[in-house]
């Protein structure tokens, strides 16, 4: 497959800069697959797993928030957080899941807390799902 150049930059630094054959990310409306020669496109990212096909090997990562842009064949992924499967701190994410579930189970929680807890729970589940794939 024809490779294309991909750059992944997050507030914590450059995560990837090089050639990939295929990229699949979760946008706000569902999974978005990108291959070489893709039309120029911009989409906001949701919370989910990202898959990169590098030299025939699949690499997985948890990719949350931000956006993806394809302009003139150059793909730039600008997520808020991006963690490779082997970088994910599973313990931390499990603790985060527990906290979130506790808030959701508590009937006294207010709407803002519930919304935050839902987002946290979702992030934790995405991270755990990705961590299993390393």
């Amino acid at each position: 497959m024809t490779p294309f150049s991909l750059k992944i930059v997050t507030p914590d630094g450059l995560k990837y800069d090089g050639q990939v054959q295929e990229l699949v990310v979760r946008s706000t409306t569902g999974d978005l697959g990108i291959m070489a020669g893709h039309i120029n496109c911009v989409a906001p990212l949701g919370m989910g797993q990202a898959m990169l096909l590098i030299d025939g090997n699949k690499r997985y990562a948890a990719c949350i928030g931000g956006m993806i842009s394809v302009l003139d064949g150059k793909v730039t992924l600008v997520p808020t957080t991006f963690e490779w499967a082997d970088e994910i701190d599973v313990d931390r994410s499990e603790r985060s899941e527990e906290r979130a579930r506790a808030v959701l189970a508590d009937k006294a929680s207010n709407t803002t807390d519930i919304r935050l807890a839902e987002a946290r729970l979702k992030r934790a589940l995405v991270r755990q799902g990705v961590a299993e794939r390393k």
């Binding site: 750059k7 997050t10 507030p11 946008s27 978005l32 911009v42 989409a43 302009l71």
Partner: protein, 280 residues
């Protein structure tokens, strides 16, 4: 008389030495904090550059639709986000950025969102209306806070409560040089590159309006976080330089005072000898 003055000089030397110890310690603390802050700035810079480039590419490529984020309105109300430090003793760091921000705000109906204790104190003292005082600790603000602020600002902008949003911060140019700057965040300003018309069309998924609605708060949050990182590094760099200068000044003064002390001591001894010789 000579005796009194040697004692005085001795006291001054002693106090100068303890001051020097403090400035020296502060310099070393600032230097170590600077290393962390500098690493973070260098790490995060590509992110802001990409974010900025992508957004300005979209803005310049986009001809067919008009998002409220793109259209400048008649400016009635402005918001200035001003990032300063939490502590003083950092040379001109705080006053430079505050001075620049105030100069930019002149003749405008401004609400300020100060970040950092010094900024909060300054605008409170000058009775400038503030959006919130809750970000009185620049050092404790994290990415999440930045995105929270960005969402709030975007909501205010969309609802028409404010017509433009600027940010005042300090650019970390190098360890020796920091320059304060004010940048317009909203409405988006077309990049200089935008002049050349881009021929290609861009597909927006799911739709251009939704994309903009989702991306702009991210963009504002990212810029905010970037400015915060830059400012923090600049603060530590400014403090390090200022404390280094203070330590050097203390050294100079101690050398000067030691000379005076020795002169006074010698004068006293000479006088005593003269008195003894004269008396015998």
């Amino acid at each position: 008389m000579a005796g009194v003055s040697t004692k005085e000089i001795k006291n001054r030397i002693r106090s100068m030495e303890s001051t020097k110890q403090i400035t020296k310690a502060m310099e070393m603390v600032a230097a170590s904090k600077l290393r962390h802050a500098q690493a973070r700035v260098l790490n995060s810079r590509p992110y802001f550059e990409s974010l900025y480039n992508v957004i300005s590419d979209i803005v310049s490529a986009n001809s067919e639709f008009s998002s409220p984020y793109l259209i400048p309105r008649a400016v009635k109300k402005s918001v200035y986000v001003v990032i300063a430090g939490d502590r003083g003793l950092a040379g001109g760091y705080n006053s430079n950025v505050l001075k620049l921000a105030v100069a930019e705000m002149k003749d405008k109906d401004v609400t300020v969102l100060p970040i950092g204790k010094k900024a909060v104190d300054y605008f409170r003292a000058h009775k400038v209306p503030m959006l919130t005082e809750q970000y009185g600790a620049a050092a404790e603000m994290n990415v999440g806070d930045c995105f929270g602020v960005a969402k709030q600002l975007c909501r205010m902008y969309l609802s028409g409560q404010v017509d433009e949003i600027h940010i005042g911060y300090t650019n970390f140019v190098s360890v020796l040089s920091q320059t304060p700057a004010v940048m317009q965040m909203l409405p988006l300003v077309a990049h200089p590159r935008a002049k050349e018309e881009r021929q290609t069309d861009i597909m927006y998924e799911p739709g251009s309006e939704e994309v903009f609605a989702a991306i702009i708060p991210e963009y504002v949050g990212g810029i905010l976080y970037g400015a915060l990182c830059e400012s923090r590094a600049a603060e530590q760099a400014a403090r390090r330089t200022a404390m280094d200068a203070a330590t050097q000044n203390a050294d100079e003064m101690i050398a000067d005072l030691s000379l005076k002390f020795n002169q006074a001591r010698q004068a006293a001894i000479t006088q005593e000898i003269t008195e003894i010789v004269a008396g015998s």
